[in-house]
């Protein structure tokens, strides 16, 4: 009368297993998504009014009082860009480059590889937005859990109220408020001098002055990002914890005489945090996108502010490069979220796993 736990035996042939492999299928789908976005972006940015040559021509005509023809000649000779080439032809050239792992050269900064431009700005955004994400995720989870434990008490009321308000205000408003309060009113930061990502007087390297300077430059944008996103984490965690607290297994854990700490961590915390990890993985993708407006507001030279600059110059190749990186990050962090969740939650662990 002993019960067996035998699962189904996998009898599929190898090629079917390959085709039906979950990870592989997700990966191929992601690649397809990236290609679709690249194509869309490529044509979309060429639909914007103006092109790099025209923008530069206008600039030259305004600043150096050149005639249109002179300015055009100079611009055309300076840029590796032929505004009269067919768009479809450009598209296939671009795709061919990408397949070889080459993102091309910047149109306006002739001779500079798009990839090296991106490498210059990317780390700062990753550092700034990444640490903000981590802070707001951890702090948000903590506050959300607190609110759920003390629900309907003043603790919960205060946390939930603040979280709702904070999450209702977009980050560019926070940027402006922070500039006004800490920069202009309190004068805690000399925002006028704090251009860029570190003080040019401190040479980059692994030394204290440089790290401090980098932190000093990043602290205001980080605060902005944290304020802009923490409310969401608090509210999500509060909801998730509240529903987990109502689960039978939590009640039974109490009836089993488990210690409060153990219940809070392994029984409530772990289960309540599960859906948030998916959100976190998805958010990682948006890290690279940074926030164009926040970086602009603090003159923080990250990927977002570079994107802003390349758009204003109609630097097609740079724009494509940045948007490609952002797309890849978003798509693959979604994929990561999918796979991560099936790792964390045994219930959705894909069969054929054991």
């Amino acid at each position: 009368m002993i019960q067996s736990l035998s699962g189904p035996v996998d009898t599929r042939p190898w090629w079917q297993k390959l085709v039906q492999n979950y990870t592989l299928r997700t990966f191929v789908q992601s690649l397809f998504t990236v290609w679709a976005v690249i194509t869309f972006v490529f044509f979309l940015i060429r639909l914007m009014p103006g092109n790099p040559v025209e923008i530069y021509v206008n600039y030259l005509m305004n600043t150096e009082n050149l005639t249109y023809q002179d300015a055009y000649n100079r611009a055309a000779s300076q840029f590796k860009f032929d505004p009269d080439a067919s768009v479809v032809q450009q598209y296939f050239v671009y795709l061919g480059q990408l397949l070889r792992g080459d993102m091309g050269e910047s149109i306006t900064s002739t001779g500079t590889k798009v990839s090296s431009q991106i490498l210059r700005y990317l780390p700062w955004t990753v550092f700034c937005v990444g640490s903000a994400l981590l802070i707001s995720f951890l702090l948000g989870m903590l506050l959300g859990m607190l609110a759920a434990y003390f629900r309907n008490t003043w603790v919960d009321n205060v946390i939930s109220f603040l979280a709702s308000i904070v999450s209702a205000v977009p980050d560019y408003i926070w940027a402006i408020l922070i500039l006004i309060i800490f920069g202009v009113q309190l004068k805690w930061f000399n925002v006028g001098d704090m251009r860029g990502t570190y003080d040019p007087a401190t040479p980059p390297g692994f030394n204290l002055p440089f790290i401090l300077s980098a932190l000093q430059h990043a602290i205001l944008p980080i605060t902005t990002y944290v304020l802009g996103s923490i409310g969401r984490w608090v509210l999500a965690m509060r909801g998730s914890t509240t529903s987990t607290l109502g689960e039978d297994y939590v009640n039974i854990a109490r009836a089993r005489g488990l210690k409060q700490n153990r219940i809070m961590t392994a029984y409530v915390g772990r289960n309540a945090a599960l859906p948030l990890f998916t959100l976190l993985a998805i958010s990682i993708g948006f890290v690279l996108g940074g926030s164009v407006i926040v970086e602009e507001a603090f003159v923080y030279k990250g990927l977002g502010s570079f994107l802003f600059w390349s758009i204003s110059q109609r630097d097609y190749t740079s724009m494509q490069g940045v948007l490609l990186i952002i797309t890849i990050a978003v798509v693959f962090s979604n994929m990561l979220a999918d796979l991560l969740y099936s790792r964390l939650d045994p219930r959705v662990r894909v069969t054929g796993d054991k």
Binding site: M1, Q3, S4, P8, Q20
Partner: protein
């Protein structure tokens, strides 16, 4: 054509889940006579609820035909189809979930009345709703009609669900575990009321339950069909099924049920199954799907051939079983492994 009000012919139903298809119903043949008491009995996953949903048109079978008053339902169009859908109604298990909490009882009852143009105005709707509430024993009506579901007890709520099923003047009502969530002390009154509806309103009642004792009470003058893993394994008049079960599965069920009679329930013979595992629908065993658990398993027969419903060998009774040894007249011998 038979005198059946509703008839299943070779009904199959499977659900797709990912790349596997789950066979929920297989080869169901069933004719429900007008005003007959019929009970579908079985454990969870046996397909009884799916059968009920197919019967009232909430689900389409994967293959097979349903006849309503002799007409193939799949050929009905327009007003004919509407007439069929109105004529068959279902009462669900959970009166808490099936009544909209933001509507009053009047709203709940008047909505289908207006939609099916059974009443012309508010006054008529109120009058009809009142009649329906009286039919289901919710009197005085004025105490109930303007209340919200949460202001009623579980039993009262279930009566409202029944009243709602009656709004379209149905000919067939499928009651899916309709009293299992109602307190024991008032179950019987609801059951009695449903049985009375057969007399007073001419409704054929099909009762779906896992509780054989309730099935016995409800369908004493009718039939019970016992289902196991998507098939009917035994069908016959209720007294035959409850007192002289034939199919090994029915026998084990009846022996397993505790009874509210201490002396009897403690001395009852227990049939010990060979396994407590219920096979998954996706991995049904070959032959008779009960054979891995059956104490009277005949190797080489039960695991090879699919049993069909047939009378027990040498019996003239109306009971039909899907058990090869029984229909072939072989004695049941305990299987020693």
């Amino acid at each position: 054509m038979s005198d059946a009000i509703i008839e299943f012919k070779q009904i199959y139903k499977s659900f797709k889940k990912g790349r596997t298809s789950i066979p929920v119903l297989q080869d169901i043949n069933l004719a429900v006579k007008k005003l007959e008491y019929l009970c579908l009995v079985g454990e969870s996953g046996c397909g009884k609820t799916t059968s009920g949903k197919i019967l009232v048109g909430l689900l389409k079978p994967s293959s097979g035909q349903i006849f309503f008053e002799g007409q193939d339902v799949s050929t009905l169009r327009g007003s004919e189809y509407t007439r069929y859908r109105r004529a068959v109604q279902i009462i669900h298990q959970d009166p808490y979930a099936s009544l909209n909490p933001t509507h009053t009882i009047y709203d709940i009852l008047s909505f289908p009345l207006f939609r099916h143009k059974l009443v012309k105005n508010r006054a008529q709707a109120r009058e009809r709703a009142g009649q329906l509430l009286e039919t289901v024993g919710l009197t005085p009506v004025r105490d109930v009609i303007d209340k919200y579901p949460h202001q009623l007890s579980g039993g009262q709520r279930q009566r409202v669900s029944i009243a709602r099923a009656l709004t379209t003047n149905p000919k067939v009502i499928v009651a899916d575990e309709s009293v299992s969530m109602v307190d024991v002390s008032i179950r019987i009154s609801i059951l009695n009321m449903m049985m009375n509806m057969r007399e007073s309103l001419g409704v054929t009642m099909i009762f779906i339950t896992h509780d054989l004792a309730l099935a016995k009470y409800f369908a004493w003058q009718g039939r019970i069909a016992v289902m196991y893993l998507g098939r009917i394994v035994e069908i016959g008049p209720t007294p035959d099924i409850t007192h002289f079960p034939q199919h090994p599965y029915t026998k084990s069920l009846l022996s397993a049920i505790p009874e509210p009679d201490p002396d009897r329930t403690r001395t009852k013979d227990q049939i010990r199954l060979r396994s407590e595992d219920i096979p998954r629908l996706t991995e049904l065993p070959p032959g008779c799907s009960f054979h891995p658990r059956c104490p009277w398993f005949v190797p080489g027969l039960c695991d090879k051939q699919l049993p069909q419903l047939a009378p027990v060998a040498d019996s003239k009774g109306p009971v039909q079983v899907a058990c090869l040894p029984m229909t072939q007249g072989k004695p049941l011998i305990p299987y020693e492994s």
